[in-house]
């Protein structure tokens, strides 16, 4: 399939990336989902919308984020030159704010005064609460009980920012359950409420909207590497939960056939154990949370709870565009276990003086193999999509250290 010529048509008019995506929502939400799409099309044509976003990206978020040559990590593996796209340096410490900013600006255009969000690691919740504080909007964040417990610093941060946290006890109390509860709230308060979805999933047009807002990562990275190295990279890598940071990095490189797009899923205790969050490597297509995509599910179509040490990757699905990229063979998807991520977390911290979040630590864990595969003349970019401050306590616990 020649993506160079055909890519722009995805998603199609029905919100599909090939066989994936769509709008699988309750009828109550359909008019709103259609209205959101219409409003987004208008906003995209509006120079004032772009200008407001650009201004806040520059002066509030701190974009562009640097492209950093990870010299010691490169030396450690002895292969391709490894660059980090430093999205962990954004305001609030992760890539999530790129998308929150865009969606909240859309919500304001639509006259919605109440913003709801789901969060796993708490990064999307913090970013949403931050933007809501900035614009004086009511913010309600749904978070699984398990995640409230393991991400306490972010819970407090959100409360400081004025957000209301709703702990969700259904299911296993993780991201999937938080998303169910957010959808229930949205159905109930559809007139007043804007649902700010944190990842490149959910019903159309969310996967497209989130991708477009996050594509600032790849656009910057592409320009920066051309300036630094005078050529495109051989590979770009990112971790994948729902896949928003990865699609944001990948998308501007999709037409560059020589650039390998590599995503890394969370393999938890190992894909063979069934205790993982690798929807592409260990799931099959199904329908959940508004879209058709790869899901962890039983033979009978019941959703299986994901497992990952990283709350941000602990989700049984994946954005529909990744499902499509994998099926057409344009992107590769690897996986990484909890233990490998913990080792990579420590390696990066020691060698580069950068404490990564556990999420990008999954990508760091696979970067050595790819770097060796590409060889010393190779060039690659890894998206360091979040910083690890929030994970310090759970890493200490996993390492058996009492802090």
């Amino acid at each position: 399939m020649d993506l160079r010529n055909t890519w722009d048509k995805w998603p199609d008019a029905n919100g599909r990336f090939g066989e994936f995506g769509g709008r699988y929502v309750a009828e109550t939400l359909m008019p709103l989902v259609l209205e959101l799409e219409a409003e987004y099309r208008k906003a995209r044509q509006d120079p004032a919308f772009a200008a407001e976003m650009q201004d806040l990206w520059t002066h509030y978020v701190g974009r562009p984020s640097p492209l950093y040559f990870a010299e010691r990590l490169t030396g450690h593996f002895g292969g391709a030159k490894i660059y980090f796209k430093r999205d962990e340096l954004n305001h609030t410490g992760a890539h999530k704010i790129n998308n929150c900013l865009g969606q909240v600006l859309l919500a304001r255009r639509m006259g919605k005064k109440r913003i709801i969000a789901e969060t796993g690691a708490g990064q999307h919740g913090v970013a949403t609460a931050t933007i809501c504080a900035r614009f004086g909007l009511e913010c309600v964040v749904f978070m699984g009980e398990t995640d409230v417990e393991r991400q306490k610093p972010n819970v407090f941060r959100m409360r400081l920012l004025g957000a209301k946290i709703v702990p969700v006890s259904s299911g296993t109390g993780t991201l999937k359950d938080a998303m169910n509860e957010a959808l229930r709230d949205w159905v109930t308060n559809v007139e007043t409420t804007f649902y700010c979805i944190g990842t490149a999933a959910g019903p159309h047009p969310y996967p497209e909207i989130v991708r477009d807002f996050q594509s600032v990562i790849g656009r910057e990275a592409r320009a920066q590497i051309l300036e630094r190295e005078g050529r495109l990279p051989d590979a770009v890598m990112a971790c994948i939960g729902g896949g928003s940071n990865a699609i944001g990095l990948f998308h501007p490189f999709i037409d560059d056939e020589g650039v390998r797009l590599i995503g890394v899923e969370a393999a938890g205790h190992g894909i063979g154990t069934g205790m993982h969050a690798a929807a592409l490597n260990g799931g099959r297509p199904g329908i959940l949370h508004g879209n058709r995509t790869y899901l962890l599910q039983t033979e009978d179509g019941q959703i299986i709870d994901a497992h990952s040490i990283s709350a941000g990757l602990d989700y049984p699905g994946i954005g529909p565009e990744h499902a499509f990229l994998r099926d057409v063979g344009r992107a590769e998807y690897l996986s990484c276990t909890d233990d490998e991520a913990l080792a990579a977390f420590q390696l990066c911290t020691r060698l580069e003086g950068i404490i990564p979040a556990l999420e990008p630590a999954h990508a760091i864990a696979r970067v050595g193999e790819v770097a060796k595969d590409l060889g010393r003349t190779g060039l690659m970019i890894l998206n360091l999509c979040g910083r690890g401050d929030k994970d310090v306590f759970s890493v200490a616990k996993a390492l058996g250290v009492d802090v």
Binding site: G22, Y24, T188
Partner: protein, 275 residues
């Protein structure tokens, strides 16, 4: 093809100048044997149409009562194939009462739309309400249903304007399920006066009977809804009876309790004879 069972149920009620009672139960809650007894009790006590809930792990449009019912059904191993088998068992005894399967897309998608349509048709199921398959997404299933005489029952809601009502009506059959409140099942209660105009609009645009549900629990509420619609759907209130049986361990109490509720609701509906 002659009259469908669903059309028959509405025709009988029309003949008696009354609205139909649509009762919902979650298959497999607290177990399949109890569900079978409940199906019979509902039918014997005046339910005109029965919605058979198929459990799903992530019921995003359901409130606490039906969420818990689904989890109880899943905990004892209820699969979609069991729900279909339960319908088939009921259909052996009863060739009249329409059975509608109500659930979410993934278990049906997982089984395969065609396999499901064949199995449902063979079991004597009359149609389905798949909450997360709006008109934009149900075309593959719709085609299979049409070939087999099954009904695609669509939802209309307080957010449905006349333009959207036309979309919802396209390819719909059986009846339209009007969701009385913006919200999840079992939450809040609707004001019949506030939705009466919209219900009439949906009926005019679709040319189909309209049943109103969500938040209808008591006889008094059912009677009010019966004045403005062709049918009244009650779900969570029945499901709570199964929940009580589960909590006390007295499963045999569930079917009589559900039957008694159906009788009460039906009497209330019958008290509102239409002109």
């Amino acid at each position: 093809m002659g009259r469908t069972r669903i059309e028959g149920a509405f025709a009988r009620a029309r003949g008696e100048n009354r609205a139909v009672l649509v009762a919902y139960l979650m298959a497999g809650d607290p177990d399949l044997e109890t569900s079978y007894a409940a199906l019979c009790a509902l039918r014997d006590n005046g339910a005109d149409i029965i919605e058979l809930g198929a459990p799903f792990t992530d019921p995003m449009a359901d409130g606490a009562a039906i969420q818990k019912a689904g989890l109880r059904a899943l905990a004892n191993g209820t699969k979609l194939t069991d729900v279909i088998a339960l319908a088939a068992r009921f259909r052996e005894e009863d060739q009249t009462t329409p059975l509608i399967l109500m659930g979410y897309a993934n278990p049906v998608h997982s089984m395969g739309y065609e396999t499901f349509a064949d199995a449902a048709s063979k079991a004597g199921i009359d149609g389905s309400i798949i909450v997360d398959l709006p008109p934009e997404e149900d075309a593959p299933l719709r085609e299979l249903y049409t070939q087999r005489g099954l009904s695609v029952i669509r939802l209309a809601t307080p957010t449905t304007d006349e333009h959207r009502a036309a979309k919802v009506s396209e390819g719909a059959s059986g009846f339209i399920y009007f969701v009385a409140v913006t919200g999840v099942t079992g939450a809040g209660s609707a004001d019949p006066a506030a939705i009466a105009g919209q219900v009439a609009m949906v009926k005019r645009v679709s040319g189909l009977p309209v049943c109103v549900g969500f938040g209808v629990k008591s006889g008094a509420q059912a009677a009010e809804m019966a004045k403005i619609a062709d049918g009244v759907v009650v779900g969570s209130a029945f499901v709570e009876k199964a929940g009580d049986a589960h909590a006390t361990g007295r499963f045999k109490a569930a079917a009589p309790a559900m039957g008694a509720l159906a009788r009460e609701l039906r009497a209330a509906i019958d008290s509102v004879r239409k002109a």
